[in-house]
């Protein structure tokens, strides 16, 4: 079974348009998934928009093993939360399924509902306890100018909600594009002082194009560096104890 040290790693990409600078984000998203990071996408629609325009966000989520969701700006914060919980649930469910196949040669679907229930109950409990790392990629291109304020509050709201989980939840935020021609800018690092969050969020200043691929790449690096640093720290601690 999955042990308690397991971590769910996810990227939540929030955008109101599509990539127009750099490589194909769908390829990068696939790479993330291969490295154990789920990529979810949220497309913000305009209030009167009926059709679902952003094909790209579907592609990124599919290749990133995650879910996509369309939302109106007002519901963004709710969507960010439901996407997050969905990722945790399905990541654990996938892991359990894989294990079951190895142990008994069948997955959850081939079990009779009553016995499946027991495992699902366990997954439910576990998803509240497992450690979660989230990197939010916030589209800060020009078209986001009138939406960024709500986006800030949505992030703050997500952070509040994650606190009520039993398991640890760590969040980092990257804005794309960054400043002065940079593709990205880290707004908030994992384990940064929470008091600075609100202030830092005001450093998101919408302007310029949408380099989605580079943004995902940066998120992968941020998550991996952070975890590596932790492993090193633990090794040093073990050394010091020994």
């Amino acid at each position: 079974m999955v042990n308690k040290e397991a971590v769910v790693k996810q990227i939540v990409l929030v955008t109101d348009g599509q990539s127009n600078i750099g490589n194909n984000p769908i390829d990068v998203s696939k790479e993330a998934y291969e490295r154990g990071i789920v990529v979810n996408t949220i497309g913000i629609m305009n209030q009167n928009q009926q059709e679902k325009p952003l094909d790209e966000i579907v592609g990124i989520a599919r290749s990133g093993g995650g879910t996509y969701e369309y939302t109106y700006l007002d519901d963004l914060y709710k969507t960010m939360q439901s996407v997050t919980y969905k990722t945790v649930n399905s990541t654990i469910q996938d892991a359990v399924n894989k294990q079951l196949k190895e142990i008994i040669g069948q997955d959850l679907d081939s079990m009779e509902p009553e016995s499946r229930s027991k495992i699902l109950n366990y997954i439910d409990d576990f998803s509240d306890e497992i450690k979660l790392q989230t990197c939010i990629l916030m589209d800060c291109s020009g078209s986001m100018a009138n939406k960024i304020h709500v986006a800030r509050h949505s992030i703050l709201d997500l952070m509040t909600s994650l606190k009520s989980r039993r398991g640890k939840a760590e969040v980092a935020i990257i804005a794309y594009p960054g400043e002065r021609g940079e593709a990205t800018k880290v707004i908030y690092r994992f384990e940064e002082d929470e008091k600075k969050l609100e202030e830092n969020l005001y450093a998101m200043k919408p302007k310029g194009g949408t380099p989605t691929a580079e943004a995902i790449q940066h998120a992968i690096k941020l998550i991996e560096d952070y975890n590596e640093m932790h492993i090193n720290q633990e090794l040093i601690e073990v050394d010091a104890m020994g």
Binding site: D74, D75, K78, S82, E112, R116, S117, D124, T160, S164
Partner: protein, 300 residues
Amino acid sequence: MEIPQLSHGIIIEGKWKKNRYKIKKKIGEGGIGAVYLVKDLNTETDYAMKISKDSLSLNREYQLLKNFYKIDIIVSVYELDDCVVNGENFYYILLEYVNGIDLKRYIGRNKLDKNMVLGIILIILKGLQALHEEEYIMADLKLENIMLDRQHRKIKMIDLGGITPKGRGIKEFTPLYDRGSWRCGNRIAEESYDVFAAMIVLSKLLVNEEINPRRQRIKDIVYMLKREEVEEQLIDCVHKGLTGQETSLQYFISRFKRLYTLERINNKQKRILLRNRKIDIVFVGSIFLFLGMVTLIIAR
């Protein structure tokens, strides 16, 4: 999430229990799936079938509903099974079909008088209390999920995906009813979370106007209630629930009971007054008629 589209007449067969159901019509659609009215081909009974790809969420709902079968206000659940639609695997639960209208649609068409509103709130609070005794919180309480059952003249709660064990984080919520969205508290499953949502339900029933946590504050709700000429006592109650000054359901139940009784007495008095006035009018009228006739006779 993928939502199965089933048209009228399609037969769904359970993979494990082999029961067969005929789709009659779609009666709802939500975040995780769709709800259809179906007929059991064996017993000819109508059920509501919630069908989805999210087995985790359906399983949770099934287990909870089975636990709460004693709570009258909560719909009953009968079956959990899998089915295949167009070659794809789905899961479903079979629920009691409530033939009626949800409160949101109802107040869109009809005005509820205050006595009725208080009655409904009392029933809801009692139901919540029974749930709290089982150590659970409703969490996603909203007008859309409260049904008026025409046939049995009852109130039923449907869609219980939000129910959360006390102390846990709340994952399913609707901004309007969520105290977190109003910045009036956190999203932890405790009694006062449901109290807050119930007070929003009450306010919506009383003012029947758009309320939105993004654009309004609690004081705006109080203002709207005042404008509707809701009495001070009731507004005070709502305010206490919304601001978290009072957190126990029992407090609200006993206060609403008193208000409900007062309102009924008031209504009765109004009716008696009205009837008395009618009698007076008839009496005075007949005297005039009599006098008129007398004058007529004398004039002859």
